[in-house]
Symmetry: D2
């Protein structure tokens, strides 16, 4: 029997548990080698839940204390670069959650470290593995709707993000923490890079939820022009309270294609004709993308086993970060922002 | 301008008001000439609502008191035959609600009177005019799903029928009063007559609603074999309380076709992720078949104006009654009943 | 019996025939008094189809030649002002198709003429009368989804608009000719006026369809900030080829609400498991808004009969024009445009 | 780490590969110990695909040749009893596909052998583990729709069954081979046993497909009366050609509940307004019940690991067989058949 790929979870929060579940309960070719988290409670809860004995408060300790093949990084974004670079330098393959990093310099550092150390880098863009998204991509790439002209992608999340994720001094806010998936999706399915973006934001619930962070917003509407002349729209609402909502609609020269729906299960009930039909909605992202989470981790494990690079890596992560940076600049400066501005600042070393 | 067809409403209840609305508010080529009802309150309410001055307690008075071209009969089933025959003999075209009559003798009397007096007879099978049913029929007849093999039709109504309609001594019960439409639909879309039927019934809510009529049932499940070898299923639930529900599903040699859905409007709302999505259901039959009711009356008026017979007449009504009679005998005698038994009893003069 | 409202159709094209059908075949309280069109073929075809004897090539002739109560104006936008003003001065009530006019000066001229002559003015925003839109508005206004935060409205039309409607020198292009309805809808349902707009456009099919008009676009993506802080998105695709598509999605503080769907009929068929389910789409706008077209005309007729102003008039039409003007300026100048710029230019007399 | 449960696949056909996939690729706590099949090609193909070295042509050889904990029996129904009894006597836990056996004597032999040898017996009623079915069951059992009054369950399968499965001398035909799931589902969700059944069958495609087996049918319509007075309807169509279709609808005293839908994925496309919307259908049963197949096997493995009996065992399998026997007798004898007739014949030793 093949020796399973040994994985060290770096981060023990909610996303970590989703990946741990895939590894421990659905992927015989992988196993949990260790869990790392500086927060003792989270570390213990997650390690206990999945029966992992090796527990560390830092990645450094884990690297010294136990043998493994790869890391799965689910810590806050501002810690990504140091952890990914350290793992890469230790020869570990890297699976990391989105957003890749805070800026393009960090993205480049990660890309460089993984390349230099000949390890794989996969970004947690699970929508690329969701059966509905992959079927849609297949149809688009087969030309079924012709050249895409306009694409809309939305992600609405139920709950308020953690403080660091809604503060523009410690993250890139909702555009990054919630909508990174949309940035990747629209570029993937349009088959073109962003040329310029214009963003409007709104803050409806912040005050009532006790958020007084400057520039906090809970609604965002992104208008994108792509290099190929296509148009894109990304929207984010978080907290939306009503459920987890991720849908895409693409109009091509020959037709329209929709991915996803609000309905979470084909169970319909009606007990009151004044209320009408009731059907479950997706409540959370692990529910909506249950298959995608397993399939992306299976892909990562399989990539390591067979030695071929994962199909969603650092370049995709870096483009999403670039979009976020242009978008944030747009709403702060109240003007359309070209990607060339954002990309030039890196090349110029700023 | 063409002189509008003048119509006398015979019956002033709920179905009468649906037809009155079509005539008064949606069909410029028709007008309400009179309303007839022995119940003074209903007569006044309906005549007032539609601004009709000519009001009578009997059809005979109406025939003597005012000039008109046609009657629309919506009275209880046990009154149908006398009214339809009287109208026909007076040279009035007849539109009558389902079920046509209580038995095949009565059906034959109506058929004979309308034929002998050269007036048109149209049955209120509005599903034959509903845009979804007609589109489905067009596709089936064009061979899109091949030869139909199995058809299921259901009608579930929200409220308890009136006492006369749930008593087998004054009506043929739910099989007739609710499911006449299904009897007509399955025969129409299968393109074949019933060969034999088997029926099971149940009574779940009768006692709690104070119904102690013998043989009352509020659930019925009909199993049909057609002459062409096809199979059919009719179900009725009344009172179902949850809304008005009328749907059909047909499996043909080449595929499946569904008609109708529970959803009454494309308005979807979600405000609670534990409850899920909510969308309106059809609450009542006038809502579900709003178009069908207008279109069937337009067809009747148009038939009179141009002098061609309506496309749904007494033969269709008579077949539905025959199915009901066989079905009722089936559950009373707990055995499958061939239509030939029911038809033979008429020919034999019994 | 009440004397029907006599209506003169001004314009004999496709929209005219939709309204003529409502008046002639579905609204007993109205009648077609005359048809006006300078194009002899269209005039004859429409007048013949609805049996109208009074036919004129100009409104002036109609005003002299026949008596009527109201006009229904469906001619190209650039003719709206002169016709509406002439009708108003002759004491005729005015129903006019969208967009109201080419600019705010024209809108003001129409508003002034109808007010001064005490006639009613109704804009052809039939979505305000569509049962799904009105049910949605009722729910929003009842607070079911809380304060709206983000609204998206789209209209995709199947075919290439006529030459005058795609040329910015003779119209305001797709933003006006296709998306006027969306401009009205988002303002209505958000319950707030536009503060600023940003627009991107694309031209994918123009060349292949032989359109070489400068600034022609067939895709448009509008980003709106409302005065109340809410966000709005309007998209237009025309020609989209795949059908007629008009849908709205609103996220409020308490939940989400969707209006409309792609599915045009609840008829589903499957005959090939590789192809999958097939269900009709709305093919054209008269199909999608069949009810809305009847109900808006019934409202106009009823308003005249009872003497109360229609609920969708010149102010709504003027706001839609203002949005269009700001949007067009935005994509031409590649910057967000505040409505105050557009409104100020009128007040300044420019 | 826990020692995985070692499983011997008995049968190497299509159902075997579905279970093998769960065990090999999705359930770390189980492993494939051996594959058994007398057909050398199937044996090799399946064992190769899942990398299983231990291959045998009979269960007896496997029992002697390799150590394992449990069998998964997917061979033709007429072999079930001997294999299950042999496995049980060897102390192996038994997971077996439906239908359990050909008659109640066989069912009793299996039940007795598993009880006597203290091994677990689980029937392959994967719908009991499908997330939509379990959510529906939870809601029904929580009283959301009140007492179920009428339940309809259908299974339509795309392709012609193998010869043995369509011949009443070697199987119980479609009622058993296709509709066993429905028999179990309606009893489970109604919460009551069958009292009597009436069945009609039809044969539309047999001749064209070269089937001349006596009593072959490709359409079946079952009418059930339950002991609690409720009604049930089961339909089967096989080959239906259009896809795999498994849906349930239950009407209770308080409302209606639907399980499942034709749509196989939330991907909708439209490229031709005359054709309309197209969306994938479930093509095969492994697609439709992908989750259910994993979850039922996880349940079996978990039951063994923790030592608690599986929740769907021999009693459920036996009741489904009893329904099938009554149903077959009904259409052969053209009369309703009480379950007591079928059950009595066993007790009487016939």
């Amino acid at each position: 029997m093949i020796q399973p790929i040994r994985i060290c979870l770096v981060g023990a929060g909610r996303a970590a548990r989703v990946h741990a579940n895939s590894i421990a309960n659905r992927l015989p070719q992988a196993e949990l080698a260790a869990v790392v988290d500086p927060v003792a409670d989270a570390l213990q809860a997650t390690a206990d839940k999945f029966g992992v004995q090796n527990r560390f408060s830092t990645l450094e300790e884990a690297l010294q204390g136990v043998d493994f093949d790869a890391v799965v990084i689910t810590t806050p974004t501002f810690t990504h670069t140091a952890l990914a670079v350290a793992a890469a330098r230790a020869g570990k393959h890297v699976f990391m959650e989105k957003p890749m990093a805070l800026n393009l310099h960090e993205c480049d550092a990660i890309l460089e470290a993984t390349r230099a150390n000949h390890v794989f880098l996969q970004l947690g863009f699970m929508r690329r593995f969701d059966p509905e998204f992959t079927e849609a991509a297949r149809r688009i790439q087969a030309g079924q709707i012709g050249q895409p002209m306009m694409i809309k992608s939305l992600t609405h999340g139920p709950g308020l993000p953690p403080p660091w994720a809604r503060d523009l001094t410690t993250s890139n806010g909702m555009l990054a923490e919630v909508n990174s998936h949309d940035w990747d999706t629209v570029r993937w399915l349009m088959g073109s890079d962003y040329e310029r973006v214009y963003v409007e934001v709104a803050n409806f619930k912040g005050q009532a939820r006790g958020v007084d962070t400057p520039n906090f917003y809970d609604n965002v509407l992104v208008n994108i022009r792509f290099n190929n002349g296509g148009l894109g729209c990304i929207t984010g609402v978080c907290p939306c309270d009503y459920g987890y909502d991720a849908r895409v609609e693409i109009v091509g020269e020959k037709g329209i294609l929709q991915i996803g729906e609000l309905q979470g299960q084909a169970v319909i009930i009606c007990t009151d004709r004044d209320q009408g039909l009731v059907t479950p909605i997706y409540r959370t992202w692990p529910e909506r993308f249950a298959q995608g989470y397993i399939l992306e981790m299976e892909h990562f494990v399989h990539s390591i086993l067979v030695g071929t690079p994962p199909k969603v890596g650092g370049e995709e992560g870096r483009w999403a970060v670039a979009g976020v940076l242009a978008g944030t600049r747009s709403f702060l400066e109240e003007r359309p922002v070209r990607l060339s501005e954002v990309l030039a600042s890196v090349e110029a070393g700023s």
